[in-house]
Symmetry: C2
Subunit: 207 residues, 2 copies
DNA sequence: GATGTTATCTAAGCGTCGTTCAGATGGATC
DNA sequence: GATCCATCTGAACGACGCTTAGATAACATC
């Protein structure tokens, strides 16, 4: 019940405790939310003593860092998938946005850990900018904008889109919007409508 | 050094402890950040025992609720001020956005408490929708859009603008953007450029 | 195969936290 | 002046993050 991997009973030195700890943390996040995520609880869930994690992570925040990293990887995958099934550039951007917010809706605790860590460090993960989700959005915008757009405008448009998606991801579940969602015919229609209004191609539309 | 109000020494039953506690909490937030904001620290700062706050607030989250409320009121005021000094509608929206993000930059800990509380309740404060900052944004958009815009479009545009501002507020301090900021000539130019790209009037521009 | 080294884990403890409860204190009411 | 009630204190509980000292077992060397 407390074992991370369903392997043989007690591998003495456990074999791969760091892995098991991260898994345990994600399990606690999913079932009981971020408030329940204490280091002691993670150790309990993994079946080890409260001090054991300190041989694999400097402190609690470093464990959360590892958890957050897996979150960003998962978000990468989700956006990658959303980017593929569409041909129209504008629609592709909307799909990306919807996929982003959906990821946050489906993994609220994980998403929160990801941004809590980012805010503590005052930075997104480095990989984001080079080969990660952030880069996917920029590439999509670049493709839509063509060759006439400047580097700076490209960067600004990416930031604008990303900020909007993040803001919507944090707020789309708020009670204030339930009525409007129903009026528009559901969650997804609501998200699409907001992204439509956001006009991630605003500058391009204006010329 | 620990007195909330510089009044006479020890008003026995303190006089107005709830007020003093909220003040103490805000003082701790400003100086030491959200991580240092424990109930015991607040009580210490206010010069009372750790149990005293429980006669004025049901628990810690209720004290934070009161702190957050003052934050929203302050944000109201900041947006109200920003809305006034401008005549062009488009520029007025940009001013609102810049004022919003600036508020978050100048009161990072307070802003974090405000949204942490909101996310825990899955709702923005009720007053926001009726007479608060959120309503100010909607009114400004309504004024800009004229009488031809539908209620739904108005609401969607407000949500889009608000989400974008919130996202930018949480991320504008990230290290990834420092280079771009310098290139554009400072923080405010950066914010204006992003809001320009966001095109809060995207739908209107397209017709 | 015995020995020593090193990584891994446990037990116990420190200080802090949120919260509760029994009792002290004192302002207000009659 | 006695009573009442809101307010405050002191002490305690369990849980937390983290440290330290010591046990355990995998591994490398001879």
């Amino acid at each position: 019940m407390t074992l991370a991997t369903p392997e043989a009973a007690r591998p003495y030195h456990h074999g791969d405790l760091s892995r098991a700890l991260v898994d345990a943390a994600r399990r606690i996040l999913e079932t009981d939310g971020p408030a329940a995520l204490s280091l002691r609880a993670v150790a309990r869930e993994a079946g080890v003593s409260p001090a054991a994690p300190y041989h694999h992570f400097k402190d609690k925040s470093q464990l959360l860092e590892a958890v957050a990293h897996e979150g960003w990887v998962a978000l990468d995958a989700a956006l990658m998938k959303a980017r593929q099934d569409s041909d129209d550039d504008r629609q592709r951007m909307t799909n990306l946005g919807v996929a982003y917010v959906s990821f946050a809706r489906d993994n609220p605790a994980l998403y929160r850990v990801m941004y809590d860590r980012s805010r503590d460090k005052d930075a997104l993960p480095d990989q984001m900018k080079e080969e990660g989700a952030y880069c996917q959005v920029r590439n999509t915008i670049a493709h839509a904008a063509g060759s006439g757009v400047s580097e700076i405008d490209l960067e600004l448009a990416t930031i604008a889109a990303w900020c909007a998606a993040h803001g919507l991801a944090e707020m789309s579940g708020f009670k204030q919007f339930t009525q409007l969602k129903a009026l528009l015919g559901g969650e997804e229609a609501f998200l699409k409508a907001v992204f439509d209004h956001l006009g991630m191609f605003a500058k391009l539309d204006r010329g």
